[in-house]
């Protein structure tokens, strides 16, 4: 019999030191992981490597000569720097929402709230908004300049903390609710947050409790409908690079840098004890609880961590654009990110990234281009760029009906969905169990260094799937591990 021994203790220890060594282990483990991935999944890894190389070199090549190929050599317009930067921003958001919706199975329809919180965090901490005070610290503005000016590199962790805190605050009372009620509550939160930012432009209140008196008169807290601008652009002090919208491809690499961190972090979360707990909850909350998972705490963690990704994306977006208003943060943005997650493949990081890249391209480059072309042929024809959500809505309906697991599905998730959509659930479950236990064991072994395989017998599922299901080479590879 094969026995899976799952090491329970965190190999890196607890607390901040544990986290730091975790991050270190991730960074130094990359070459090792890469070599192993290449050995085990050669085609996939090569494809991924090629994609990465294209992505990394694209902005530079684009600025050199590729842009002139747009619509000449290539039939379609190539995405410009702004679009690619937004691909990164939405990529971070999609990965964050994937933690909530994909890993833990909680539908969050108000994800945009945390995006807004991240953006306003950047706006509050790096703009002349608080004109009566002057705090300038390592920023690209002269000393004594009015307002608070902190560097982007400090704002991002603050935005992570604040967005995560709000995620936890929203989650704490609501996560006991059933799935659809939770969706509506989060939607409500997503609507309230921008309203608050829009309406707190002129705050007057008088509060006194005994000796304590707090009185403000006509204080502009949030900039109202106009929002806050200008916001300092991210700035790299010694290299003297400014990452704003007119800086060409520089912000693309800033976004890519943050995105890579988001990917690594999410990948490790997925394979951690917490990640397994999320998936257990997603599949069967009651069963997970019976197995000793603290469901409320685990779901809260998903909410807070997912929210913190949106915090990163929001602070990047606001700093990059140099302005923020509550109009940026509408329900439709929450849904756009949700479509990215669903389209790409809910639960699969590479899938949701693909969704983010594809949909951002469609939204920001493809539809405006089609609109422009149509304008020349038929000026009275409605511009498809203004009706982008007609297409996105249709995508949602069609995906739910024909391919709910997305285009790059998470194997486990696809199996769950298939089990639900087939009429003969019973038969299907047997089949999935057979395929799954084999496939998942393999995947888990590839993925998780904390699983030690004590290979003294045939793996589970062998009897059902036949002797040819597992090739001898793979078994050898696993023994090496």
């Amino acid at each position: 019999m094969t026995t899976l021994v799952v090491k329970d203790e965190d190999p890196y220890g607890h607390g901040i030191g544990g986290w730091l060594s975790h991050v270190g282990a991730v960074l130094f483990g990359i070459p090792d992981t890469y070599r192993r991935e290449l050995r085990l999944h050669r085609p996939r890894t090569i494809a991924l490597t090629i994609m990465t190389v294209i992505l990394v070199t694209y902005p530079i090549l684009n600025s050199m000569f590729l842009a002139s190929f747009s619509r000449t050599v290539f039939p379609l317009p190539l995405p410009d720097d702004t679009t690619v930067t937004f691909m990164m921003i939405f990529g971070i958001m999609a990965i964050g929402l994937n933690i909530v919706a994909g890993f833990a199975g909680l539908l969050d329809l108000g994800y945009v709230a945390f995006y807004a919180i991240g953006a306003y965090t950047a706006a509050f901490l790096a703009s002349p908004h608080w004109g009566s005070i002057s705090i300038v610290f390592l920023a690209n503005v002269p000393q004594g300049f009015p307002g608070i000016h902190l560097p982007f590199w400090i704002i991002v962790p603050i935005a992570i903390l604040i967005a995560g805190t709000f995620g936890a605050l929203l989650g704490a009372p609501t996560l006991r609710l059933r799935g659809d009620y939770l969706a509506i509550v989060t939607l409500g939160f997503g609507e309230i947050v921008p309203v608050v930012f829009r309406n707190l432009a002129d705050v007057t209140f008088n509060f006194s409790l005994g000796p304590l008196t707090l009185a403000v008169e006509h204080v502009n807290l949030t900039g109202g409908p106009l929002g806050i601008n200008p916001i300092d652009a991210p700035y790299l002090p010694f290299a003297n690079v400014i990452f704003n919208a007119s800086a060409g491809y520089a912000p693309v690499y800033l976004g890519m840098f943050l995105l890579v961190f988001a990917i690594l972090f999410a990948r490790n979360l997925e394979r951690s004890r917490i990640g397994r707990a999320w998936m257990a909850i997603r599949e069967d909350e009651l069963a997970a609880e019976m197995m000793g998972v603290n469901t409320l705490r685990t779901k809260l963690l998903a909410f807070a961590l997912g929210a913190s990704f949106a915090g990163i994306a929001g602070s990047l977006q606001a700093s990059y654009l140099g302005a923020t208003t509550s109009d940026f943060f509408q329900f439709s943005t929450s849904i756009l990110v949700l479509i990215m997650v669903i389209l790409g493949g809910i639960g699969n990081i590479w899938g949701v990234l693909l969704g983010a890249v594809a949909l951002t391209y469609v939204d920001k480059t493809f539809l405006p281009y089609v609109g422009q072309q149509l304008q020349q042929i038929a000026p009275s024809f409605p511009n498809p760029a203004q009706f982008n959500f007609l297409f996105f809505g249709l995508i949602l309906v069609a995906m739910m009906r024909f391919r709910p697991e997305g285009f790059l599905p998470n194997r486990q998730r696809a199996a769950e969905l298939a089990a639900h959509t087939q009429a003969d659930v019973e038969a299907k479950v047997d089949q999935i169990v057979a395929v799954d236990s084999q496939a998942e064991t393999e995947a888990a072994i590839d993925a998780d260094p904390s699983i030690v395989l004590d290979n003294t017998g045939p793996p589970p599922g062998q009897d059902e799937t036949g002797p040819d299901a597992r090739s001898p080479e793979t078994t050898d590879e696993e023994r090496e591990l």
């Binding site: 609710l177 009620y181 309203v195 329900f331 009706f387 959500f389 809505g393 309906v397 969905l417």
Partner: protein, 308 residues
């Protein structure tokens, strides 16, 4: 005091319109546990259809003779109800029925997609600007008959009550007393068992969408004749108000939806009047969140669907 009463009257007319839409949410939730996200947008389509009929097809105006006005309005209500009912049944067929056995969140996501589709179709056809018609009713104060001048009840407000209250009564009668109503209640309790007892479950669900759609259409007509304005994204705000009403009253509970709608109408009116219209939406959402967190069964509890 007069001002409070006046606000109350406005709240009452708001609430009655909410009730018609809220019933659509509660009926559908009661029977298939789906938050029909597109329902608010169906209501918006209803108001658009009514606007088109009134302004372009029949060319009604304030100078139209009273008898003709009443006749045509009844006709407009009938046509709009049929149209929205047909649209709702079609949507159910396309977007929800294939997902009957999918995980519960799949139809919700499909409904959200449908909501955007309906909004953008309206935007595509009617354009992004507000669409308005002239007030068709006399502007006299009905209460001046009784010698009251400080509080006003307009013809429009009376019209809201005259249309909605009979519809609410008719619906209650239908669900409580008819054979089809019994089939609906049975399906809500347990679709599988209802099927075994000879209820055509698919047909009953389609019927529920038909009724909900018809009510949303009626609400659309009332809305356009009461507020005289509609816009492509009206359904989102309105739908969430109506959904909050349904939750407040206890989703799945028909009389609860009406009670919830009346309460929410007042919350809207008083918030608009005494706080600021800017905050009304936030307050409605806060009410929604508070009800869901602290009393998810609502004020009157869940009657139709007690499967939570």
């Amino acid at each position: 005091m007069d001002q409070v009463i006046q606000t109350f009257i406005i709240g009452l007319s708001n609430g009655l319109i909410f009730a018609l839409v809220a019933l659509g949410y509660t009926l559908v939730y009661g029977i298939i546990e789906l938050i029909n996200f597109a329902h608010g947008d169906l209501f918006m389509l209803g108001s658009m259809i009514a606007l088109f009929l009134i302004a372009s097809v029949f060319g009604l105006s304030a100078s139209t003779p009273a008898l003709q006005l009443v006749g045509v309005i009844l006709l407009v209500i009938a046509i709009t109800m049929i149209a929205t009912a047909a649209i709702n049944v079609t949507i159910e067929r396309i977007a929800y029925r294939p997902l009957r056995h999918a995980p519960k969140l799949a139809p919700l996501i499909s409904a959200i997609g449908m909501s955007f589709v309906l909004q953008n179709i309206a935007n595509l056809i009617a354009g992004p600007a507000n669409k308005s018609i002239d007030n068709l009713f006399p502007t006299t104060n009905l209460l001046s008959v009784f010698g009251i001048e400080t509080i006003a009840v307009t013809f429009q407000q009376a019209f809201v009550a005259v249309v909605t209250i009979p519809l609410l009564i008719a619906l209650t009668w239908f669900v409580d007393k008819t054979r089809q109503g019994r089939a609906m209640r049975a399906t809500a309790q347990d679709p599988d068992t209802a099927g075994l007892m000879g209820v055509d479950v698919n047909r009953t669900i389609a019927l529920t969408f038909l009724i909900g759609g018809a009510l949303a259409g009626a609400a659309g007509v009332v809305q356009i004749l009461y507020n005289n304005v509609t816009v492509w994204n009206l359904g989102f705000r309105f739908g969430l108000n109506a959904f909050t009403s349904a939750v407040l009253g206890g989703i799945g509970n028909l009389s609860g939806a009406v009670v919830g709608a009346l309460v929410l109408g007042q919350i809207n009116a008083f918030s608009d009047r005494y706080l600021s219209a800017n905050w009304t939406n936030a307050i409605v959402f806060a009410v929604l969140i508070a009800v869901l967190v602290f009393k998810p069964t609502g004020l009157l509890g869940q009657q139709l669907a007690d499967r939570a």
